[in-house]
Symmetry: C2
DNA sequence: TTTGATGCAAATGTTTTGCATGCAA
DNA sequence: TTGCATGCAAAACATTTGCATCAAA
């Protein structure tokens, strides 16, 4: 892969993601970066989000409510998606990597990992 | 919800899904049903797949490799997605519902369930 | 005869891409 | 200067939808 050159747009995207607790969609990122760089294009936002995710600097979350979401915290962690408001929350929880072993007990392939997200109602939507 | 009327197209879709071990995309279902009903439209396939999934007669799998996949086995079970060939396998494994409890230990919302899929290399792609 | 289901095509929503230009190294 | 990054617009994809017609009940 070619070396990445510095770009102020990419920095702005990284900065924005690192300081929000939301898990914004590409479009939300676009809307916010536009406040600072009105001429930035959606294509550039997508290109940089994908680049950063590939480099492991951010996480791409496929929560499948239509569009992908992005998380400025690159450390592996689990997510909770609220059925009520649709917001995505980070979960602090102990490792559940042992489920890979359980999954592999009757399977002849090689299980390398899992993707899990939890759903239900968040504190605000709960009753 | 209005009562469903019989339709031979829907029956054919259900029949096709129940007798394949693949986890076809909507487009693959379309291609196959067309052998029997050359005039069926992709819109009808999508409408019926969504209907059947809502009724709990089939499963819709969001494995996020581009398009959704469908499974004729409506009983909850876990899936394995091969990083090599992209195929989706059913996993026979014991329940891991306890991870809902683990996830809820430090979270104030109500965790109702989880979606998990495993990945790695399948027996064919493994070495 | 009533009303859900269909085929067709157009529309939608998200993401990617081609290309000329801009800018970092 | 070299070549990655950008802005713009068009394209690519998967999926949904409006509508006139068809067919189950």
């Amino acid at each position: 892969m070619a070396v990445m050159k510095y770009s102020r747009q990419r920095e702005a995207i990284k900065e924005y993601l690192s300081q929000t607790i939301e898990h914004p969609t590409a479009d939300t990122v676009y809307m916010n970066i536009r406040k600072q760089y009105p001429n930035i294009s959606l294509g550039t936002v997508y290109r940089n989000l994908n680049l950063l995710a590939e480099q492991g600097e951010i996480l791409k979350i496929n929560c499948r409510d239509g569009s992908d979401r992005f998380d400025g915290n690159p450390n592996p962690h689990y997510h909770f998606i609220c059925n009520g408001c649709g917001r995505v929350f980070d979960l602090e929880m102990e490792s559940i990597d042992h489920i890979n072993v359980i999954a592999g007990e009757h399977f002849k392939g090689n299980i390398e990992g899992h993707i899990t997200f939890f759903y239900g109602s968040c504190p605000d939507c709960n009753q």
